[in-house]
């Protein structure tokens, strides 16, 4: 599912290019606009990394406050989608470490456990679908952390270079990680 050009090009406001000379109110509007675009993908990503929705929301607030300062300081506007995901990834990593110390639970695991098959399926199909999802989740859990991050970021529409920037990997490594992960996922129905 390749992302559309509209997403790839990220239609940032024309006023954005002037950096620190932009009026604060414009910067605020711009950041809010980007928040509306990226809040759900970011939240899905950080929660899938094992955080609670509450932690995820807090991280996203910090991401966009950091973005605001980034724009205020007139820093680079290239690849802002990659930038916000990179910041969110690193904050999630940090929060995840902190949570491990306190043994906080993950909303993602809870959501997986509560997941129901589509109501349109008959009971037999629902059972089969549910079993398949469990097998897929098992494969996902067994993937290397970095491969899993690549998959989740790609599922949120990031291009390879954005994933590479977010995770500090090379483009080739992203490509290999995605191919390897999908190959493993594709074998979920085998034996």
């Amino acid at each position: 599912m390749p992302p559309t050009d509209a997403i790839r090009e990220l239609p940032f406001p024309a006023s954005a290019g002037t950096g620190s000379s932009a009026k604060p109110s414009e910067s605020e509007c711009e950041v809010i606009h980007l928040f509306e675009q990226f809040r759900n993908p970011l939240l899905r990503y950080v929660v899938s990394r094992g955080l609670s929705f509450q932690d995820g929301e807090e991280i996203i607030q910090e991401v966009f406050l950091a973005l605001f300062r980034h724009l205020q300081l007139g820093k680079s506007r290239r690849n802002l989608r990659g930038w916000v995901f990179r910041v969110a990834h690193n904050l999630a990593l940090k929060q995840h470490s902190a949570n491990k110390r306190t043994q906080a639970t993950s909303d993602f695991d809870e959501a997986l456990a509560q997941q129901q098959p589509a109501a349109t399926l008959n009971p037999e199909e629902q059972a089969a679908s549910s079993q398949r999802h469990e097998r897929m989740q098992a494969v996902l859990r067994a993937l290397p952390e970095q491969d899993r991050c690549c998959l989740y970021l790609r599922a949120e529409g990031l291009r390879y270079r954005e994933i590479a920037a977010a995770l500090g990997m090379s483009l080739g490594a992203v490509s290999i990680a995605l191919t390897r992960s999908l190959a493993r996922m594709g074998r979920v129905d085998e034996g």
């Binding site: 599912m1 390749p2 604060p24 109110s25 910067s27 605020e28 950041v31 809010i32 928040f35 509306e36 809040r39 759900n40 939240l43 899905r44 899938s48 929705f53 929301e57 996203i60 607030q61 910090e62 966009f64 406050l65 950091a66 605001f68 300062r69 300081l73 990179r86 910041v87 990834h89 690193n90 904050l91 990593l93 940090k94 470490s97 491990k100 909303d107 993602f108 959501a111 997986l112 997941q115 999802h133 897929m136 989740q137 998959l151 790609r154 599922a155 291009r159 390879y160 977010a166 995770l167 500090g168 490509s175 290999i176 995605l178 191919t179 999908l182 190959a183 996922m185 594709g186 979920v188």
Partner: protein
Amino acid sequence: MLREPFHLSDQDILLLVDGEISGRRARQARAHLTACWFCRSRLGDLEGTIADFVTLHRSTLDAKLPPSGGARSLLKARLAEAAAVPSTNRWPRLVQLLPPHRTTAHLCAAVLITVLGFIFLLRHSRLQAPNLALVSMAIPNHDLTPGATRPVSIGDVCSMPHEEVVRAVPSSLRQQVFREYGIVNPRPEDYEIDYLITPGLGGADDIHNLWPEPTSSSAWNARVKDALEERLHQLVCDGELDLPTAQRAIATDWITAYKKYLGTDRYVSQMRRPALLENPS
């Protein structure tokens, strides 16, 4: 590009459908797919796997995502607050705007206030030893805490379970460290007994590797150091820095090491974790 010399590899098929190759290479791959049923069926399998994964991912979380209205309002309020606080980078511009004689006068006044403030802090701190410690102990006393390591290999360091990296310092050792530093009745929220060389870089459970690090009162505090520790660990495990160099850097002067390896002079101030924000990799 072509596998065995007739078929596309899985990686090439994925690169093609993800739009990550272009030009002649893409044309070749598309032409092959048009001609080859075997590769087309593999493309179909791949697309099916992607669809299954996306369905699973979205169906797991989408229904549970909280509405964004509250978060949006909160962000607006916080942005307004942040906008009201002048950025530190505006100072040079402000100085440029002032006439030269006024600039000098302002700078002199600022220096005077800083000196007076420092004298006040010192005097005040003599009455309250822990506060003095907070000011001065961002960097440990190297006579007491020179740093100590245990024999480890890169493999040990990079495969260390998280629990070991962040393991707590035993209570008896903590008390001993406070005594060494002359801190009586420390407030728990003020200090973290921290490893100078983190266990994740081969630091030892030794009193010579521990000191009471300010948690938040100092600009260069435990949270900032955490960011450096993660960065050094990553560099070592990626093979970009050798372990003894990382140990030496953090033991000698972790603030200098922070500036060098995170590539910034800025530390955690208004944001909770800006070191990670600016230098994520």
